[in-house]
């Protein structure tokens, strides 16, 4: 009993893709199970955990609550699109270097939220970082190393010492 499908035109990480998706699919389902972009995670499927966070036109959104048609015609950026020309985004590098990812399951969503923060606020205070990441649950780290990594990335992007 196949569901009604539609052809969706999605711009993901700079690539324009036309895909057939069931009418009721969320953006997360389209990314993970149709486009094979499995970096974005499903932790709750109801908007509680933030593991599915991606950027749509630069804004962090919960892909598990976004119907796929709502993202059509917009710029979608996932964790797979954060690196440029094979060079990791400073956030990715510092998360790795400073132990900000333990199990790594919340990491893609947190990186997207943090990338949006740094785009808006290049030198955020720790309070701003806490606020910006408050929709992303991490169960491993206690958040301490995540703050360190975001601050190190901000510092590197600002041209300061990266502390490496």
């Amino acid at each position: 009993m196949p569901a009604e499908t539609r052809v969706a035109r999605l711009v993901v990480n700079g690539d324009t893709r036309e895909v057939g998706v069931p009418e009721h699919f969320t953006l997360l389902e389209a990314l993970r199970y149709v486009l094979g972009l499995t970096g974005s995670k499903q932790g709750c499927d109801k908007g509680d955990c933030g593991a599915c966070t991606v950027l749509v036109d630069g804004q962090p959104i919960l892909a598990c609550l976004t119907p796929v048609w709502e993202a059509e015609g917009k710029e979608i950026l996932t964790v797979e699109g954060l690196a440029r020309d094979g060079v990791p985004h400073p956030l990715q590098d510092h998360f790795d270097r400073l132990g900000a990812a333990q199990c790594g399951f919340c990491t893609p969503g947190i990186l997207c939220s943090a990338a949006a923060l740094l785009a808006d606020s290049p030198a955020p205070s720790r309070e701003e970082i806490r606020e910006a990441l408050s929709g992303n649950l991490c169960r491993c780290t206690g958040y301490a190393k995540i703050y360190d990594a975001v601050e190190a990335a901000a510092s590197e992007l600002a041209g300061g010492a990266d502390g490496a």
Partner: protein, 822 residues
């Protein structure tokens, strides 16, 4: 022997071989911060978890779950589901009527219920269909005829019940004459408890309640099964002729392997278990779950791969989280602050199945004595079945609850004898190279350094009892195992093993059976192999999580991995190092011990002109000895435990120690508690990688904080909805701490250099959780003079105690030691 050696600063490097403990500067990689080997994959989205895998032709499965907390299954009609377009198979409990259980002595559950459901959420049937939506529709077409039975939601009513035909026990009695609702009873006494308490100058007795909590790893459980029938064999005549592969987000691939074979009646040699990266576990993935059996059976039924991914709601019902404990502690002390005796009675609310409950019941008492010198100790613990999701091990298995109660007891006793709580703990310090009252062998012990570390960092002496009303500091200590000397199923084989191969490119491949659940065990073996063999870290590849390729490690539980896997890896790598040194020494005409392997080179320890790239050294060794490979194993000491029934439970090759100070603000008008900061000092033996150790300490303190203030795995009763229904099976409503809730955390590493740990290392993954909760409770008391004896310290619970204290006139800053009326 070990005691003497410790005094001399010796560490055991192999059975019977002792050497001087290395100092930090003797290492190239160990003790320094490095990236994790899978870190880049995790930060770029390339890391593969189970649900990221899609196999050609894969079907999707769903499990039908019981809407009743306790009921007999009269019949199940699956015909309408089977007829739905897109459905490929439907199975029920009758297709796998074999009981299993993680503890070999208590198998009491079926993959799908056969004739009785025991909690809301118990699985009764499973469907495989072309997609998940079709599978969900098919579940709605399965008709189950239930005979509803009275349910037991509290351990007290389960204990008091006398069975009748209309109201049976949850399980058949485990022993002749027992109430069938009892899983396990343990009563152990060490020393003269009644005399000890009877002779005390002060006795504190109180009831404590620890509400259950769940792990809530962010990755939900997921499994994929793929059955490949043997060519040329008629499946009708030999349905077991084939090979089964199961991918699972499990932290115990070896036990899953064994239980799959048992339940499916397949030879273990026909089963391969693969463990992709696991997105958090915390004990919540440490036994087989219904979905793993169902994907296997559904794949065997359809000949196609089948995936099942739990919903978040199913994760809460699968549970196996921390048991609710009802505890009574009676503790005596002398006027000089020495403990005289401890008496504990504990009721464990186990939920519907045994899970690890036999061990939990022992752990509820066995892990308490250290880090203190208890002259006499008794615990009387009983685990009850109830009609709720089964409880099991959560980070700090069975010992977080009693630690909460006991460390609050110590705070009360310290006040009663007018001592600073740090001083009180110091006076009762167990010491190193000794035995606890229940005969656990304790070797290295850095507890005093942990106390000193948090006392100094928190500026305790200037601030305890001196902060303004509403703000307070509290301290607590703890101890935890670094693995268990006895494995879950009795056997004499190693608990952990590693295989290493060196190839001609200079690359080192480590095959590890351990479970990478985020804690960094893949990285630990890479650091060790690079340290021992002198290759750059980036030339080490770790292959893990495949029972076809990797030797057995028992799993990521009991804080056993660093200690056991690390020792196994040193064993394998040092064998290979010896061969390489010998080959190079032959070339140079020197002693093998003079050949140093480090920084990608083989060099002579004293002759600076003797050097070659490590790859050439490997070539010399391969030419001399043949292909370079070695296995290494670690097994636990089996000769150190108490000579009494249960004396092996809690016996560990080493114990970690922790101390916390928490600082809180309490609003006396609302009962709202804000934890401002937690200082956590932990004796991890040696930090193989300080960044990863700090991460474990911070994550542990965070998790304990969440349990202290917010989390409750609770169920509705008949007065508040459907009895046995989970109160809040979502991450939003269950409430785990967000970044805004979580206090500042400061990790302070203490290194006691354990004589038997790998380079002196002990555990860091579970121990640092324990003191969070009592430290916060004790800080609340320092803030407003209100004792919290039940969890969580949520506004309603704190408010209730504030109101009581207000009426009693005790809502005030407590007196400082030395200031109170004697």
């Amino acid at each position: 022997m070990w005691g003497l050696s410790w005094e001399l600063g010796l560490v055991r490097v192999a059975a019977g071989v002792w050497t001087m403990a290395k100092s930090k500067s003797d290492f190239n990689l160990i003790g320094k911060s490095h990236r994790k080997v899978e870190g880049r994959a995790k930060s770029t989205g390339q890391a593969v978890y189970t649900d990221d895998i899609t196999l050609p032709g894969m079907l999707h499965g769903k499990i039908l779950r019981s809407p009743h907390p306790h009921a007999n299954i009269r019949s199940i009609d699956t015909s309408r589901a089977e007829a739905l377009e897109g459905v490929r198979a439907v199975i029920t409990g009758r297709d796998m009527p074999v009981q299993y259980g993680i503890i070999p002595w208590t198998p009491d559950e079926y993959p799908l219920c056969v004739d009785r459901v025991r909690y809301i959420g118990d699985g009764v049937a499973a469907v495989a269909a072309v997609d998940e939506d079709t599978a969900i529709r098919a579940l709605e077409l399965i008709e189950v005829d239930y005979e509803v039975l009275p349910a037991f939601l509290s351990p007290q009513e389960a204990l008091e019940h006398e069975a009748s035909d209309d109201a049976p026990y949850i399980h058949p009695a485990r022993k002749e004459g027992w109430n069938g609702n009892i899983t396990k009873k343990v009563l152990l006494e060490f020393g003269e408890v009644d005399e000890g308490i009877g002779s005390a100058d002060v006795v504190v007795e109180d009831d404590y309640f620890f509400e259950g909590t769940s792990h809530t790893a962010i990755e939900p459980h997921c499994a994929i099964g793929r059955w490949e029938a043997d060519a040329g064999v008629d499946p009708a005549s030999d349905p077991a002729a084939g090979h089964l592969t199961v991918w699972s987000a499990t932290q115990v691939p070896h036990y899953l392997h064994r239980e799959l074979a048992r339940v499916l009646d397949l030879d273990q040699a026909r089963i391969r278990v693969l463990q992709p990266l696991v997105g958090g576990a915390f004990g919540g993935k440490s036994e087989p779950f219904d979905l793993e059996f169902c994907v296997a059976k559904l794949s065997m039924a359809t000949g196609r791969p089948v995936k099942i991914l739990y919903t978040r709601e199913e994760v809460f019902y699968a549970h196996r989280g921390r048991h609710p404990f009802h505890m009574t502690y009676r503790t005596g002390a002398n006027r000089d602050g020495k403990l005289t005796g401890v008496d504990a009675r504990i009721l464990l609310d186990g939920g519907a199945y045994a899970s690890f409950g036999l061990v939990t019941t022992y752990y509820s008492g066995q892990l308490l004595p250290a880090p203190y010198d208890l002259p006499a100790y008794r615990f009387d613990s009983t685990r009850l079945y109830t009609n709720k999701p089964a409880c099991g091990p959560k980070r700090g298995h069975g010992s977080v609850q009693p630690r909460f109660a006991f460390e609050v007891q110590l705070d009360k006793l310290a006040e009663a004898v007018d001592l600073d709580p740090f001083e009180f703990r110091r006076r009762n310090f167990l010491g190193s190279n000794t035995r606890t009252v229940n005969e656990l062998r304790v070797t290295s012990n850095g507890f005093l350094e942990c106390l000193e570390s948090v006392e100094r960092a928190s500026d305790w002496a200037k601030r305890f009892r001196k902060l303004p009303f509403g703000r307070g500091l509290g301290v607590a200590g703890s101890c935890y195992i670094s693995g268990t000397n006895y494995p879950i199923y009795p056997n004499e084989m190693p608990q952990s093993a590693v295989q290493i191969q060196i190839d001609r490119s200079g690359r080192v491949a480590v095959f590890s059976g351990a479970s990478e659940i985020g804690q960094g065990c893949d990285s630990a073996v890479a650091y060790i192999a690079a340290e021992e063999l002198g290759v750059p870290l980036e030339h080490v590849r770790v292959y893990r999580g495949d029972t076809d390729f990797t030797p057995v490690d028992l799993g990521a539980y009991s804080s056993r991995v660093t200690f056991m896997l690390g020792n196994a890896c040193i064993d394998a790598a040092s064998r290979l190092r010896g061969k390489v040194q010998e080959a190079v020494a032959a070339e140079w005409g020197c002693a093998a011990d003079d050949v140093v392997l480090a920084h990608g080179m083989a060099t002579h320890a004293t002759a600076s002109d003797q050097a070659m790239p490590i790859r050439e050294a490997f070539h010399l060794a391969e030419a001399r000895f043949g292909a370079l490979g070695a296995t290494g194993s670690y097994n636990t000491p089996k000769d150190v435990h108490g000579e009494y029934r249960g004396g092996t439970i809690g016996a560990s090759p080493a114990y970690s120690f922790t101390a916390h100070v928490a600082e809180v603000d309490v609003d006396p008008d609302t009962g709202f508690v804000e934890v401002r900061k937690i200082w956590v000092a932990h004796d991890c033996g040696r930090a193989l990688n300080p960044v990863l150790v700090e991460g474990q300490m911070e994550g542990s303190a965070y998790m304990g904080f969440g349990e202290a203030l917010m989390e409750e795995q609770i169920f509705k009763d008949a007065d508040h909805g459907r009895a046995g229904l989970h109160n809040a099976p979502s991450l939003l409503d269950y409430r785990i701490p967000t970044s805004l809730d979580t206090p500042e955390l400061e990790a302070l590493i203490v290194e006691s250099i354990d004589p038997e740990g790998p380079y002196g290392a002990k555990e860091a993954g579970e121990g640092p959780l324990h003191p969070s909760i009592p430290a916060i409770a004790n800080a609340i008391y320092d803030a407003i003079g209100v004792r919290m004896n039940r969890l969580p310290f949520s506004p309603p619970n704190v408010w209730r105690e504030i109101e009581r204290a207000r009426e009693a006139g005790s809502l005030r800053k407590p007196a400082a030691p030395g200031e109170s009326a004697r």
